[in-house]
Symmetry: C2
Subunit: 256 residues, 2 copies
């Protein structure tokens, strides 16, 4: 397909590269900042533009990968070209595009992307939604050229997915950061903990998290929990996090 | 070395197997429950016992891998045999053994173990402490036969390590569980989220967590955060977790 990428952030960058690697043609890359557009365009052999009025209409699909609150405004402009328009946002409904055209869809890659890190796009779950069956079929065909994990997910489900991703990714990453800070306070290297982080994530690839929960809270080991709270003396934010999450684990155990 | 394993839980099981695979001889496995002792003893070619009075004194080291509050009582009994005694606990100080003998040490594997899951023990960080230099040397030699990651860590540091491990392992695993429950409430499969969990943990193997933090909180995206809190309507425990961790991320971002 001929694909136009709107945006130059983490998701746009990884998507554009995946499309390019699968043999699609990236026609243009748009960014408000020409430098950002040019950098990504160079990598995927496309033209860089920083004005929507410079859109090349010889394309099959516009992929809007920008901040959520900018999707609607861009969709409104692009709707005039009568091409398929999709956004890539987990938190935004299809309606943000459908307000301006029925040729609308969502192409949401459920993964955490950083520009500095390569990853195997074939393992990235792609969550698709289309305004009609034909659009769904088109998006499925496109999605299967870049990933083995293609799902149909409506706007309500996608919002839950996005929320679940915050719990499964953003919050754990923050807790890794807390762990690193605690170690640093006592001249201990984060490398000591890295294998544990890896194994914890690997475990739940096959198992249910509740079945492999370990630690003082799941044993309701109050002596250790109190000792930990004392070690956090003076760091009330961390004490609160410790208590709230430990209570969750204690309740979880009883309900399984 | 000739090694006697006291305990038959997750840590005892993985340690005994690692020692056996490295060519050491497991003399006996003790558990209060003969069935548990027998199962592990069978796997590592050792004798099973369920009474400390049946200890075979033809051994070099007692490895106590039992619940924290049982370490002292067992150490007191074993001290009479004048052999090296170590425990494997992150949360307990060396003093629990040293109260009864100077032939004391700690052999703490910093990893999350489940009996149902194999793992590469050579990547498990082993945190060692000894009552004197000779004991430290002995434990280092032993540790290097089973792991490439051997660290000397005193009792105060080990307590911080154990606390950091709760933040890096036990809490994230619980959040995986929350994520799975949210998905299940809306007929969505946990498989959708598993690649994200994997990638989140892989990212911090090379990067610092603060450098790869993503999600609405780090962007201070209040619209999305409020939408998420509304999706959690009626689940006040989860709303509290969401708010507390999001606040942490918002503050983290400002401090980096």
């Amino acid at each position: 397909m001929r694909i136009t990428i709107i945006g130059s952030g983490n998701v746009a960058t990884h998507l554009a590269a995946a499309f390019k690697n699968a043999g699609h043609r990236i026609v243009q890359v748009y960014s408000r900042t020409m430098q950002n557009a040019a950098l990504l365009a160079y990598h995927v052999g496309a033209e860089a533009i920083d004005e929507l009025t410079h859109i090349n209409t010889e394309t099959d699909i516009f992929v809007i990968s920008v901040k959520d609150d900018a999707i609607g405004g861009i969709a409104e402009v692009l709707a005039g070209y009568n091409k398929l328009i999709v956004h890539t946002s987990g938190a935004s409904s299809l309606a943000f595009i459908k307000a301006f055209t029925d040729n609308a869809g969502v192409f949401y890659p459920l993964q955490t992307f950083s520009k500095t890190r390569e990853l195997d796009f074939r393992n990235v779950p792609l969550c698709l939604e289309g305004a009609d069956d034909e659009i769904v079929n088109t998006l499925q065909e496109l999605a299967r050229t870049v990933s083995n994990k293609v799902y149909l997910v409506n706007s309500d489900q996608r919002k839950i997915l996005h929320l679940a991703a915050v719990f499964a990714c953003n919050f754990p990453n923050y807790l890794y950061h807390v762990s690193q800070q605690l170690l640093a306070q006592h001249d201990l290297a984060f490398d000591l903990i890295r294998p544990l982080i890896d194994e914890t994530a690997q475990k739940v690839q096959q198992h249910n998290p509740a079945d492999v929960q370990t630690g003082p809270a799941v044993r309701n080991d109050e002596i250790t929990m109190n000792a930990h709270l004392q070690l956090l003396d003076g760091q009330t934010d961390l004490q609160l996090i410790y208590e709230v999450l430990s209570q969750g684990i204690i309740k979880m155990d009883k309900s399984t």
